[in-house]
């Protein structure tokens, strides 16, 4: 028996894969080199091609066929085909987001600016209405550090509000501030602290104080910031009586 006889004898075993692993590897190597055995093996393979149909068919579980389709087609699609739609969607979203975010920021900024301007306009209208409806106007001149300024009060008896204008005064020294007071029947009542900016008059619209009784007049003092008392302690700059 020659070595080749062994291969001839085991051709069908090779096709049926009943050889042990070493013999199978040896046979596979031989078939690659031996055309005669290769042709014979192909004939046997064809002869036994339908033999696996001897096994009973097994009904696939529900959804398994669909899973195969998804798996096979998903695996085999070129990478660009698998990713092109999600990538395009993602890119579209990014572009839309890229356009939306700055637009939204600009829109928010404009809305805030508009609200601020609207508030300022309403405040000015309100101040103007107090001035236009004022029943009385009180004025006092103030001289400070060589500058000539003044305190102007528009008293609206209908809305019971005053529009107070302080003009021409230098900025308050460090540690001090301009303080407006109401002169009431029961004494002085703290009004508002006024911030003076060079070259710009200060406008305030004040309601009448709830305490102290009838308002009889107003005063402006240069008050130490440390003074938290209800009574003025600083220098009086103006004093006006209704």
């Amino acid at each position: 028996m020659t070595a080749h006889d062994w291969y001839i004898e085991h051709r069908v075993d090779f096709v049926a894969r009943t050889l042990d692993s070493d013999d199978e590897a040896s046979f596979a190597d031989h078939v690659r080199r031996c055309d005669e055995c290769k042709a014979a093996v192909q004939i046997i393979e064809r002869d036994l091609a339908w033999l696996p149909m001897g096994a009973l068919p097994v009904r696939p579980r529900p959804g398994f066929r669909h899973q195969i389709v998804r798996n096979v087609i998903g695996d085999s699609r070129p990478a660009w085909r698998r990713w092109v739609v999600p990538t395009a969607l993602a890119a579209s979203l990014l572009i839309a987001l890229g356009l939306y975010v700055p637009e939204r920021r600009e829109s928010d900024r404009l809305a805030r600016a508009l609200a601020t301007r609207t508030g300022e306009l309403m405040s000015l209208r309100d101040s103007l209405s107090v001035m236009r409806q004022a029943a009385r106007v009180l004025q006092a001149s103030i001289s400070m550090n060589g500058r000539e300024g003044g305190l102007l009060i528009f008293a609206d008896d209908v809305s019971h509000r005053w529009n107070v204008v302080v003009h021409g005064l230098p900025p308050a020294p460090p540690g001090e501030s301009y303080q407006f007071w109401f002169i009431c029947a029961d004494g002085m009542v703290r009004g508002a602290t006024i911030t003076s900016e060079p070259g710009k008059p200060a406008f305030l619209t004040l309601g009448m104080p709830a305490q102290g009784g009838t308002v009889m007049g107003a005063a402006l003092t240069m008050e130490p910031k440390s003074n938290r008392s209800p009574e003025p302690r600083g220098k009086e700059l103006a004093h006006l009586m209704l």
């Binding site: 033999l51 696996p52 149909m53 001897g54 097994v58 398994f64």
Partner: protein, 216 residues
Amino acid sequence: MSADADRSLGRSRPAGASAGDGGRFAILQGKELRQRLIARDEQALVELIEVATPWLLGVTHAMLSDESDAEDVVMQTFSIAWNRIGIFRDDGWDLLPWLLRIARNRAIDRLRSRRRHQMKTKLIETLGGLDERVTPAPEPNEAAQPGWHVHETVKAAIGALPDDQRTAIRLAYFQGLTQSEIAEHLAIPLGTVKTRLRLAFDKLRVSLATVKDWNL
């Protein structure tokens, strides 16, 4: 082969004609489906999966005795087929036998690489009989399964073998055992196993010649 088997095979039909069990199996006939697959027709793949899956599961399930592994191998089989259909040569192989061969080889590889055959041998012992089937029992409508007539023909061919040869074939071909493993399992000489298998395969090659010529 019996007369019934002959009739069920429909040997008198022209190649490409539909079998008596419906036209779905006929889609595996001829080159039309193959050409559609080569053209990457996904509907053709769906049709192939529809018809071939039960048979592939039958082979892999019988060999692996594990539903998950069997499904995995079938999945791989279709992936391989879909990716290699372009280089699938018209050398006498039809689609279903080609798929069955891929599936069986994959199942054997998996069986051996995981040394599952040892578990398998124990399982066969547990079942207590060599003719016990590890495949699921036939379902009531299996006769309507496309390709059922081919199964009946193959089954008849195997059934016509002497008991000892039939046993050897079942263990070797349908349960993936090697000759040595069969010898060990049956406690008989290796030479006896080889002889039984050789005789059985020789008979089957003759019996299945008609199926081979049936151009599915």
